[in-house]
Amino acid sequence: MSAPVSPLIAACLDVLLALLVLGATVVSALAPRGGLPWRLRLRRLLDVVATAAAAVVLVGVATAIVPGDPVARALGEDAPESARTAMAETMGLHHRDVLPGTLVPLAVGGRVLSGLVLGLVDDDGGLRSYRREPVWSVIAPRLASSVRLGGVALGLGVVLGVLLGALAGLRHGRPGGGAIDLVVVGLAALPRVVLGPALVAVVAVAWRLLPAGGDDDVAALVLPALCLALRFGGVVARHVRVGVVDVVDEPFVRAARSRGAGPLRVAVRHVLPQALLPVVHLTGLQAGAVLSGAVVVERVFSWPGLGTLLVERLQLGDLPVVVAIVAVSAVLVVTMNVLADAVAVVVDPRLRRGRAP
């Protein structure tokens, strides 16, 4: 059982936490890079933590700054005083009573961050949604859904993009090449808000092959994953195509051909490996966003992911859940970028030697 802390001390601790997090993030961003590999890895790890923490603090600060009463927004104007007090405490807005106005946003930022971290180890002590559910219990099933959808979509997108991009690059300037280019550009440009309903109308309604929405079984995953993957695959294909076109006439490729290697072997062993590096970075950039929620696809296919939860809770003014989603998204985005960098270092020896590719 913890001893009660005076409201002023609690408020000051929250302000201090917010200042520490923001300060550490700025220092981390400005500090010079380089040094021993283990230090670099540690720095990367700290980047992930600091970015997520700073994002949470900034959302808390923004909530306290924007006009209106966030408690009334979350609970409605007719909510009883007890519920208002509890929500104000959850959000850190009760610090208004003991702190000067200028410090309140920082206190709110610090409070939501500490509440979020505490919620990871203790459901009862951490942040709770406006419906009084522990925030992590709200987030967890949605995150699992988003990761499932995002994972399949990214996998499909990479496979589709690499195959299509390679084909487009190898057929560049030959008969049929223009048509493949058109398909690639078309996929990359196709808005999901159009593609999604079209897929449902054809595959689910007209042909009755797959479910129109929901997340009941594997079959329900196919259409939303395809909707995400087709566009992502189009973007990947464009990058792969450029890479293939760049290297397809390089001396080492011509040498391979002259040694009698067949077209498939040349493509797989000599051309594609050179063209795939941009795909690693691209996948890293896209992965964080896709895994942390794809609002349009989730709505069209009634997929219960993080994106729709974020929109729903933003409209309700449910700050605790919003900051939790922001934190998760920040961690996912930064982690996927760090992973992409790590994979790039592994696949390209020039990066290991500190040279630009």
């Binding site: 209106g68 009334a72 927004r73 609970l75 409605g76 104007e77 007719d78 909510a79 009883p80 005083e81 007890s82 519920a83 419906r131 009084r132 099933p141 699992a144 990761v147 499932r148 959808l149 994972g151 399949v152 990214l154 996998g155 499909l156 990479v158 309903p197 449902v200 109308a201 689910a204 309604v205 009755r208 479910p211 129109a212 929405g213 929901g214 997340d215 009941d216 079984d217 594997v218 329900a220 995953l221 797989v268 062993r269 594609l272 490996p273 050179q274 795939l276 590096l277 709505r299 069209v300 296919f301 009634s302 219960p304 729709t308 939860l309 729903e312 409209q315 309700l316 592994v346 696949v347």
Partner: protein
């Protein structure tokens, strides 16, 4: 990249695909029981009737923990758990429960006591301010003592408060998500599948179906899922433009006049809208017939005031205002409003509201007013309404069943401000006669007298025009071929209040492809 790395990458990708896909291979265990797949437009905020405030939460909670009475299609209270409700005197109401219920008098007292307890944080506590005490008379009877005469008590309190079991909700967080009362259903899913709730029959009922409730937020997704056969029923949330495709596809679409009152709100604190002649001019310039026929595609009824058509307190003399733009222009000239005067009309992002706002703007152009339509997210609209930062706003009150809602919307004591509870008079309309009639109607228990008073109020509002009544939406149920009404032949028919109660007696006639 070395070839071995490429191979590894492909193996990893395949692994991710398989693992991710397998994660989806789960399904709520329905034990082979028939279930109706029902779509609703938003997630219920709670199934505990003491906490639910959203339309979906309130309606679903009624299936689990119904109240003592419900409001029927005549918009009058109909006994449900109660055998009898007796007004002993103007401060005492006795309720006798039906026999054989799973809830008793002790549960009724517990429900109301817990709602009054600040520790629960019930958003309905304000409604119970009028209650001085609730006591058990015997196993099946309770007595409510009121602080003063309060005519809306039965509809606003007894018919709006689901009764939960003390044994399940006495000291349990689980009650927030899995409450139990005397409803025909209980929730059996563990909440692990987001956006899906499984409501199972409390008792075996001759193979009558359970409910598989799915939250489908997007209107087009609801339509397409119904057409694809993935859903059986869409309760409410059927957009007017979806009705045609549904009917053409052979789905059943049943509608009835609802109880949602859409209106053009007017902030009478702003110029030139402070002048009642200008407000009357707006009412005369807006063609509600055209709006209902065009924007709602006939799925609604013109409105003459807050109270819906057919309501027991609706005065026959209060009828929708017909368009008369010449008279509207004359009123504007009288009020010395210069041609081209600009008004700002606030609307939420809802598709129907947006398009209606634009139609209204163009109708007001016809009398020489220029209207800028501001489309904002609903949370912003709501904040601005409460703060009084608007000139015109397109909004809706729902459900309008108890005529005392007029007090919330036009009584001068309900202009939002510090200390004002339920401040719904956002346009700051003031009329002392209206205040007096409303106050009197609140404490008058004679139904005829109340109806007369509300008739006076609605007639006065047509002169003062604190808002322009637009329409009453239809309540719609769309259903596929698997589901039928209790006789197994007729389609599911909606209640005016949008209650989910029609699902209680629904039957599955064809297991067919699911």
């Amino acid at each position: 990249m070395a070839p071995w790395m490429l191979r590894h990458l492909l193996v990893w990708l395949a692994g991710i695909l398989v693992v991710s896909a397998c994660g989806a291979a789960r399904h709520g265990d329905d034990g082979g029981r028939p279930a109706i797949r029902v779509a609703v437009g938003s997630a219920p905020d709670s199934l505990d009737p003491r906490l639910a405030t959203g339309a979906v939460g309130v309606r679903l909670s009624q299936l689990v923990a119904p109240p003592l009475c419900v409001v029927d299609d005549r918009l009058e209270p109909r006994l449900l758990l109660a055998q009898e409700i007796v007004q002993v005197d103007d401060r005492t109401v006795d309720v006798e429960l039906r026999s054989g219920l799973a809830v008793g008098a002790d549960d009724v007292v517990f429900t109301f006591a817990s709602m009054l307890d600040p520790a629960l944080g019930s958003p309905h506590r304000g409604r119970l301010d009028v209650v001085a005490g609730v006591v058990v008379l015997d196993d099946r009877s309770v007595r409510f003592t009121l602080k003063g005469p309060h005519a809306p008590f039965v509809v606003d309190v007894l018919c709006a408060s689901g009764i939960v079991r003390r044994a399940d909700c006495g000291d349990s967080e689980r009650c927030r998500t899995h409450p139990r009362g005397n409803g025909p259903f209980r929730r059996v899913d563990d909440g692990s599948q987001p956006d899906r709730l499984l409501l199972r029959r409390e008792a075996e009922a001759d193979g009558r179906p359970d409910l598989d409730v799915r939250i489908v937020r997007d209107g087009s997704a609801r339509l397409l899922s119904l057409l694809a056969g993935d859903l059986d029923v869409v309760m409410g949330d059927v957009q007017p433009w979806d009705v045609g495709p549904m009917q053409r596809a052979g789905l059943s679409v049943e509608a009835t006049a609802g109880v949602g009152f859409s209106y053009l709100g007017i902030n009478v604190r702003t110029e030139p809208l402070a002048d009642s002649r200008v407000r009357r001019a707006l009412a005369l310039a807006i063609d509600t017939k055209q709006l209902v026929a065009g924007r709602l595609q006939g799925r609604g009824h013109r409105s003459s005031g807050v109270l819906p058509p057919g309501h027991w307190a609706k005065a026959a003399a209060v009828v929708p205002v017909d368009v008369d733009r010449d008279r509207a222009r004359a009123l504007l000239r009288e009020a010395e409003v210069a041609p081209g005067t600009t008004l700002r009309l606030l609307s939420s992002t809802d598709r129907l509201r947006q398009s209606s706002a634009r139609a209204i703007a163009s109708q007001l152009e016809a009398i020489g007013l220029h209207v800028d339509v501001e489309v904002r997210d609903w949370s912003v609209v709501y904040e601005r309404l409460k703060a009084g930062h608007f000139e015109l706003v397109l909004a809706k009150w729902t459900p309008v069943v108890e005529p005392d809602l007029l007090t919330t919307t036009v009584h001068s004591g309900r202009i939002p401000g510090p200390g004002v509870v339920a401040g719904g008079n956002r346009g700051a309309f003031v009329d002392v006669d209206v205040d007096g009639w409303l106050d009197e109607a609140r404490i008058t228990t004679d139904v005829q007298a109340r109806a007369r008073l509300y008739g006076l109020v609605e007639a006065r509002l047509q002169e003062g025009v604190p808002f322009v009544p637009l329409w009453v939406d239809d309540e719609v149920i769309a259903s596929g071929p698997r589901v039928r009404g209790p006789d197994g032949v007729s389609p599911l028919r909606p209640w005016r209040t949008g209650s989910f109660w029609p699902l209680v007696d629904a039957v599955v006639v064809d297991e067919g492809p699911r």
